[in-house]
Amino acid sequence: MMFKRMPIGAAIGLFVTIVLLIVAVFAPWIAPYPGSRVLGGVWEPSSAQYWLGTDNLGRDLLSRMIYGARITVFIAVASTALAFTLGSILGFMAAVIGGWFDTLMSRFVDLLMSIPTLIFGLVVLSVLPSTIPILILVMGILDSTRVYRLSRAVAVDINVMDFVEAAKLRGEGTRWIIFREILPNALSPLVSELGLRFIYAVLFLSALSFLGLGVQPPDADWGGMVRENREGIVFGIPAALIPAGAIAALAISVNLVADWILNRTTDLKGGRGNA
């Protein structure tokens, strides 16, 4: 039913997203070669043996792309999940508890958001090692500020509704109110935000890795692969454009799907027009 009226852009986006996710999950079974083995010459052009050619050290670019998809998607998903868990629980708590807790949390989030995320990420990574758990933690915490703002705003509205009042009057605790009353009703705006935050995480991670402060070699996500192959550009070897293009394709696809979902949910609400 909902797929019938799906615009062509969203359909393509959904298809590409699913394909990339499958590649990420099943990387070891799909990749023709191990990701880190040196096989041929440096920057060989694409051939029947190496479909996308070889990279700056003579590794198979296609295999590295496939493993890179895994690292990119894994870190982005993990940090998005962290951002949502942290941001929404704290946001709901701020709305339900109110008072000093709300003020303190909201001012702190304002403070964190007044520094550009990339800059603060770089500042923190100047003293912390760039391991995968730390990357997930840093990205997740920085991104949770935006989820916090959204969930607090949504929860403040829900918090004054009759069924929440009723739950409070019959003596339910804060945990019940948050998980049984507010969460189910706040889900749809949060879900439509999910795609955007995921894209943001992919782009943030790629930027960090591109700057040499994200995933460390010999592992590489797509941003790291752009970094590895960037010297080739000046010699007219476009190997770096392949991972860069893959990041763009993933981000655009998820964006198309998220945009479609967003339009669908706003359509349901009515209003003067679907501008």
Binding site: I115, P116, I119, R230, P238, I252, A275
Partner: protein
């Protein structure tokens, strides 16, 4: 006898901005000093002797409590002394100054191109709303917002610098460079930056104008029989100017961040590259100083956006 309400509001905003900047300086300081990494250890490496570590700690003042080090640092920053870099023992303020000028030069030209273009495209999209032009512009904008900066940067470099050879692929600039050469050197990074912010700015401008165009007073003006030009001049523009300036300032703030990646791509000697280099070297004083400057510019642009919104609000123009 109170001051004019607008002045009071602006003064409050500025005070708030200064307070925010102070809080940010605390946060940046905490972020680099309290976290588990030991600066002395990371400079000297794992093999350092305890004696060498102790000497370096004393030299850097790491044995003082954190709040004393913070106030020493803040006092230095306020008097223009940003400290010395750990990696090359150079005065940070003197290394930053020419780089800051380079970055501002690049950002200035990117802004000069992108701001009018984005507003124009936004207006065109609203004028032909839901038509082919609007859908094309909006579709392109949606895709462009999800392109990573380095994709745009390297595509431009690959085609215009390497394949066609129109521009240099590495944007070297130096002090005595003639203006024309300098412009040629920044052409590609400035284009890349423009593309990075253009889509965002255009989408937000379109939304801001649409928001105004859909209000009841515009409908009234339409029904009164005013021409489209009159409606825009008398009713839409005065109300849209605040949100548009807001959009522009927010995107200039974006631009300040986008500069980091773009400078690394084109090896442009600006603040962003300086920051990234010293993050990899774990040179904390430089990272603190540059981080604070970036945050100050960001907060400053947001402050200007707020002040313009206050000035543009006709309800605040007269005393109650």
């Amino acid at each position: 006898m109170g001051a004019h309400p607008v002045l009071t509001l602006i003064a409050q905003r500025i005070a708030l901005g200064i307070l925010l900047l102070l809080a940010v300086s605390v946060l940046i300081f905490l972020g680099t000093e309290i976290l588990p990494g030991d600066v002395a250890q990371s400079i000297l490496g794992q093999a350092a002797t305890p004696q060498a570590l102790e000497n370096l700690r004393r030299e850097l003042g790491l044995n003082d409590p954190a709040y004393i080090r913070y106030f020493t640092w803040l006092g230095g920053v306020l008097t223009g002394d940003l400290g010395t870099a750990l990696s090359n023992r150079m005065d940070i303020a003197t290394s930053i100054w020419p780089r800051l000028k380079n970055t501002l030069f690049l950002a200035f030209w990117a802004a000069i191109v992108s701001v009018p273009l984005a507003i124009l495209l936004g207006l065109v999209a609203v004028r032909y709303r839901n038509g082919f032009v609007d859908k094309t512009i909006s579709g392109l904008a949606l895709s462009a917002t999800s392109l990573p900066e380095f994709f745009i940067g390297y595509v431009l470099m690959y085609f215009f610098a390497v394949r066609l050879g129109w521009f240099p692929s590495v944007s070297t600039v130096y002090d005595t460079m003639p203006f024309a050469d300098r412009m040629r050197a920044i052409a590609l990074p400035a284009t890349a930056l423009t593309l990075v912010v253009l889509a965002h700015m255009m989408r937000m401008t379109r939304a801001a104008i649409l928001n105004v165009m859909q209000s009841a007073y515009i409908e009234t003006a339409e029904l009164k029989g005013l021409s489209l030009f009159e409606i825009i001049r008398k009713h839409a523009f005065p109300n849209a100017i605040a949100p548009i300036v807001n959009v522009v300032m927010l995107n200039l703030a974006f631009l300040v961040v986008g500069v980091v990646v773009i400078e690394v791509i084109f090896v442009y000697p600006g603040m962003g590259q300086y920051l990234v280099d010293h993050v990899s070297k774990r040179d904390v004083p430089v990272v603190q100083a540059v981080g604070l400057i970036f945050a100050a510019v960001y907060i400053g642009l947001n402050l200007i956006a707020d002040i313009v919104a206050i000035l543009a609000n006709p309800r605040l123009r007269h005393r109650r």
